[in-house]
Amino acid sequence: MEQLLSLWQGSGLYNLTFGQLTMMIICLLLLYLAIVKGFEPLLLVPIGFGGLLANIPEAGLAMSAAEQAIHFAKPEVLAALAQAVGANTTNPEVLSHLVHDAGPSAYASAQLIAQDAGYANGMLYSFYSVAIASGIAPLVIFMGVGAMTDFGPLLANPKTLFLGAAAQFGIFATVLGAVGLSAMGVMDFSIQQAAAIGIIGGADGPTSIYVASLLAPELLGAIAVASYSYMALVPLIQPPIMRALTTPEERKIEMVQLRTVSKAEKIVFPLTLLVLVALLLPDAAPLLGMFCFGNLMRESGVVERLSDTAQNALINITTIFLGLSVGSKLMADKFLALETLGILALGIVAFGIGTGCGVLMAKLMNKLTKTPVNPLIGSAGVSAVPMAARVSNKLGLEYNPHNFLLMHAMGPNVAGVIGSAVAAGVMIKYLGG
């Protein structure tokens, strides 16, 4: 009978908390959106499943050894941990906060004590520390994106870089919105957290994750989920804004055919970009460096095999671990907070403002330059490659069936990738360490 009781008390059902149940339902919803509705399935399937795993009661898959030791709360282990972080309490809740705030060296010694006591890091925790905490996964994905990117349309019309710059306004406006909310006392975001939320407006998953992992790792789950779900919603969010800001005549504007770009130009461009980054903003070097490297492998044409691996096998492997690691951050105690709703709301505002500014900038360019510019391509300045460019193309075709804007919109689209990486670099420079 006693054994039966201990079996029951060790079961998931007995230990399931309300928060965990809610999170499991949220994760199932993410899986539903990915599988049935086709929302960014490549990311939301691993993220949703990782979230399910992270919320299994008692398994502690997303917990470090120290967190598990605190969770199981054996008095002698708690006492040793309290000593390690210099606290005089053995209250598990207080201790778990202290362990996180104590700084890396105290955390490391707490980890060692927990491991001595027989606790181990959870599987998802290990994935997270290798893939995201180290910054590696977003950077490897960025290399793959670089290997998939064709800078041809951008090189043919470099002025579209301005559109990519204008669309980044959404990022910074959202930062202001987030600190505004904290100032009014509605939410409680620090300036670092505000910056990490704003970067959702860059519509660039790896960049958001990279910035969040450096500036606000505690919000990473919500930021990544918001970022990828809104990217999937680009075809719904953007068109109303684009229609509201343009006249039907403007939407019909046909653009001049792009000139052909030589192979040499395409090879030299990533190097030029890298030199500019190195000279002006070394903090963007990890992101743009990997991006340029991937692109150089593609354009040089002599390392087909490496380029092929970077844009297929490697990016897929990394995506699996990145998704599971992000899922590990969907734990009830961290995700079920008012802040998450704030992040979701601010994220969509960031998207909208970015789209609007891109369109307005394109209108301005159309007025100022001799060559016609269709304002619809401005919205592609938020990254979300190639979805945003496809939206521009589709909307253009609606108003003028002979107007193929896809190639023209790819220019601002890849400019947006560069723009949001630069914005990320500025934020890391300004706020990091």
């Binding site: 951008l154 710059a165 904290s182 130009e265």
Partner: protein, 82 residues
């Protein structure tokens, strides 16, 4: 006090960040233009290489008209079918 500090920091970040993004990408526009013209001047063989596919692309251009005609017809057909 604390909240006004936070706001002013936010505004600073916006001005600094947006300013920098524009400066960087403006520079990139000029540098890219410069790079393209230099590279195209320096790499003379490129046009020669480009000349080889040129005869191929000339008939392609001719085909393009045909293609556009076919596509337009298809689009019309699709529309009227609707």
């Amino acid at each position: 006090m604390h909240s006004s500090e936070l706001i002013s920091e936010g505004i600073n970040l916006m001005l600094f960040g947006m300013g920098f993004v524009f400066v960087f990408l403006t520079l990139l526009v000029f540098v890219t233009g410069l790079m393209s013209s230099t590279v195209n001047k320096l790499v003379k063989p490129a046009p020669v290489v480009a000349n080889k596919p040129a005869p191929v692309s000339a008939p392609a251009a001719g085909n393009n008209d045909e293609l556009i005609a076919v596509m337009t017809a298809a689009v019309h057909k699709y529309r009227s079918g609707k």
